[in-house]
Subunit: 408 residues, 2 copies
C-alpha cells in the first residue's frame, strides 16, 4: 500500500474571555489575538467565550487570508461563545446542547443563558490521495470547581459529552477535542471523558513542551486572573485541553505543545485570563484499521464510572428534595390565594360583617402570594426536569457499567 | 467469504396515546397492547406516548418473557413518552433533545413540557459469527399540521433529526427509525429526512402490504380519532413510519408491512388513536461495503433543502418580530414602573401636593405593570433563543447546500 505523506496539523485553542461590557480591554485583546493568529498561520483555531458576534466578524475579516473557513455556533440567549477558524473547508457542523446547564435563577453565573453545548465540525484536508476527515469537538464549561452544587450537572455534562463523542466519532479518521473543560486533569469528569472515549491528553503525550509550569492555563502571573481563586494552587490550574485520538487507520502523535505565559509577546497585557494552548499534531496513515478501544483498562474504568454515578445520585437526591419543597411551597401559596379569594367574595356578597383586613394589606398579601406561587411553580418545573435528566443519566451509566462488567 | 445466514427482524411501532387522566380507556388499552406483544413475540417494540412510568413498568413486567430488555427515555417535565422493548440486549442509549420544541406558554399543546427528543439505541443481535449491531432511532413529534406557526420548529426538528442520524449512523450496520413523525409522506420535512439520511420508507419498499388503505395510521374508522380533523383526508393520514437503511456491508429489505385496522382483533376497541405499524425486515451481509449515499439525487435534494431553508427563514423573521415586540413591551412596562416609583417617592418626600391617585388603583397599576414586565421579559428571552437556534439551523442548511452544489 502506498503510504500517504504525513500531515502536520497546528491547532490553537483559547478561552478568549470576551464578554461585552464586562471583560477588561476586550477589543484590544481581540485585536492582539487576531494579529497573533495571522502571524502564525495555524491550521485550526478553536476559540471560546467570544460572546459578541461583532468580535467574531472582526476576527473573521482579519483571518480571511490564513483561515478562510469559519463557523460560529449559535445557542442559548447570548450564544454559545464557540467559534472555529480553519485553513481547510468545514464540511458539516452539529450542535449538541447539554440537557442540564446550571440554574436559570443563578443569574450571576449565567450558565443557563449561554446554552452550553458542544460543537461538532467535520473538516476536510485536501491535497491528499484520499481526503483526511478529522472531526473536531469544541466546548466550553463555565462552572468553577468551588461551586460544588454544580458537580452533578458537570458530571452529567461530562457523560453526555463522552457519549456524544463516542457515538459520532466512529465515522471520522481523527478526533480532536479542544476547549475549556473547567476540570483539573485528575477530576473524575476528565478521567471519565478520557476513559470512556479513548481520547489522549496532548499535554501528557507531547514530545516537547514549552510554556507555563505543569501546562497550567490559568496562572497567577496573568494580570486578569483572580488571585484569591488561585490561592490553593500556587502554580495555577490546567483546565484548557487539547485531546485527540485516531479512529480508523491513522496514528496521531503530539509533536509539540506550547502555552502562552501570562503576557502576549512584546506587549504588557495577556490575550485573555486563560493561556492559549497550541499543539502540533503529526497524523499518518498506517497499514490496518485500529479496533475500537477504551481509553483505560476496564477495572479502572469501572471505578471511574461508579464514582461518577455516585455523584449523579447525590445530585438526584438533592434535586428531588428541591422539587418537593418548591412544590409544597407552591401549594401553600395557592391555598393562601384561594383563601383570600373566598374572603374577598364573601365580603362582596355581604356575608361577612365588612372587610376584616385593610384593603392595602389585603392586596399586598395577595401580591406576595401570587409572586411566591409563580416563583415556586417555576422552580418546581425546573427541578422536575433536573430530576428526569439525572435519573436518565444514572440509568445510562448503570447500563454502561453492566456492559463493562459483562465484557469477556 | 462465508455468507452469514439472513436475519429476520420483526418490528412493532405504535403511538400508544397513554396520557394519564386524559386518554380514554388507557389502562385497558395498555393491557391489550401487552397481550398482543406477548402473543406475537416481536424482536423490537417501539412505543410512543407512554407518559406514565407506571404503564411502562406494567408493560415491562408483562413482556419480561418475550422482550427481556427495555429502556425508557427520560426528558422534559413529564418525560419523553418513548420506550423500547427488545429481544436482544440493549448496549447503549443516547438522547438528543431538539433545541426548539414549541412554546412554553402554549400550555394546551404541551410540546414544550414533554422535552421532545430522539432516542438512539444500540442493540446487539447475538448468535451470529459476528454480532450485528443495528442502531435504532425513535421519536415522536406532537404538532398538528394545521398549527402552521409551528412549521419552522418542525423543519428545524426534521433537520436536527436528519443531522443527528447522519452523524451517529455511520458506526452502525443497520439503521432503523420508527415513530410518529407527524408529517405526511409528501411533506417537506419527510422528504428532507429521507433525502439527507438515505433512509427508505418501509411502506413504499415493502414486498407485501396488509392493513389500512394507503398505509394510513390515523383513520376515520378508529373510534378514538377526532373526525373533524380528518375531514380533508377521507382515507385517513399516514404519519407513523418505519424507515431503515443499511450502512456497512449489509442489505436490508422490507418483506412485509402491516398495520392494525381500527379495532384490536376480537375486541371492540382499538389499541390507540393511531394504528400500529409492523414490519418484517430481512437483513443480510453482502460482499463489499456500501459507500455513503444520499437518499435522493443531488438536484432534487437541493430543491428540498432550499424549500426547508425558506420555511426556516420565514420562522426566523416571525421570531425576530416577536422578540422585538416583547422587548418593546417589557421596556414600556419598566418605564411605567419607574414612573410610579418616582411618583411614590415624590409623594413620600412631600414634593407633590398629596398623592394624586387613590392608593388602590396605584397599587393595581403597579401590579399590572410588574406582571407585564415579567411576562414580556420571559417572552423576550424565549424568542431570543428561538432566533439564535433558527439562525444556526439556517446557516447549517446554507453550508449543506453549498457542499451539495460543489459536489463534482
Amino acid at each position: 500500500m502506498e503510504r500517504d505523506p504525513a500531515l502536520r496539523l497546528r491547532v490553537f485553542n483559547l478561552n478568549c474571555w470576551a464578554i461585552r461590557y464586562l471583560s477588561k480591554q476586550r477589543q484590544e485583546r481581540i485585536r492582539l489575538i487576531g494579529d497573533r493568529l495571522c502571524q502564525e498561520g495555524f491550521d485550526l483555531v478553536l476559540l471560546q467565550e467570544v460572546w459578541s458576534e461583532q468580535d467574531y466578524s472582526n476576527l473573521k475579516a482579519k483571518l480571511g487570508g490564513c483561515c478562510p473557513f469559519s463557523h460560529y455556533f449559535r445557542s442559548g440567549v447570548i450564544g454559545s461563545g464557540l467559534c472555529v477558524f480553519s485553513k481547510f473547508p468545514i464540511l458539516d457542523t452539529l450542535l449538541y446542547q447539554y440537557s442540564l446547564n446550571g440554574y436559570p435563577y443563578m443569574l450571576q453565573h449565567g450558565d443557563w443563558f449561554c446554552g452550553k453545548s458542544v460543537g461538532l465540525l467535520d473538516r476536510c484536508c485536501r491535497g491528499r490521495s484520499r481526503p483526511l476527515c478529522p472531526r473536531f469537538f469544541q466546548l466550553h464549561a463555565e462552572y468553577w470547581r468551588e461551586k460544588d452544587t454544580y458537580l452533578p450537572h458537570r458530571m452529567l455534562q461530562a457523560w453526555e459529552l463522552a457519549q456524544f463523542i463516542r457515538h459520532t466519532a466512529k465515522a471520522a479518521d481523527v478526533v480532536l477535542l479542544g476547549g475549556d473543560l473547567n476540570m483539573h486533569p485528575e477530576d473524575v469528569g476528565i478521567r471519565l471523558l478520557r476513559g470512556w472515549t479513548g481520547l489522549r491528553d496532548a499535554f501528557t503525550e507531547a514530545k516537547r513542551f514549552e510554556g507555563c509550569e505543569d501546562g497550567c492555563t490559568v496562572v497567577p502571573n496573568n494580570c486578569f486572573t483572580i488571585k484569591s481563586e488561585l490561592q490553593p494552587f500556587p502554580l495555577g490550574i490546567r483546565i484548557d485541553y487539547i485531546l485527540y485520538k485516531a479512529v480508523s487507520s491513522f496514528t496521531v502523535k503530539c509533536e509539540e505543545l506550547k502555552t502562552t505565559t501570562g503576557t502576549a509577546p512584546g506587549m504588557d497585557i495577556p490575550y485573555s485570563d486563560h493561556e492559549a494552548v497550541m499543539a502540533t499534531l503529526h497524523i499518518q496513515r498506517k497499514g490496518q484499521a485500529a479496533g475500537v478501544t477504551l481509553g483505560t483498562a476496564v477495572p479502572a474504568l469501572v471505578d471511574v464510572l461508579s464514582e461518577a454515578q455516585t455523584e449523579v445520585r447525590v445530585g438526584l437526591l438533592a434535586a428531588q428534595r428541591q422539587r418537593y419543597s418548591s412544590g409544597r411551597m407552591a401549594v401553600l401559596a395557592l391555598l393562601l390565594l384561594l383563601l383570600q379569594a373566598v374572603a374577598a367574595l364573601g365580603a362582596l356578597a355581604g356575608l361577612a360583617g365588612g372587610q376584616p383586613f385593610p384593603k392595602l394589606s389585603f392586596f399586598l398579601l395577595a401580591f406576595l402570594a401570587l409572586g411566591i406561587l409563580l416563583l415556586t411553580a417555576g422552580l418546581h418545573l425546573f427541578h422536575s426536569i433536573e430530576v428526569k435528566m439525572l435519573q436518565g443519566t444514572e440509568e445510562q451509566m448503570r447500563m454502561a457499567l453492566r456492559a463493562l462488567q459483562e465484557r469477556p
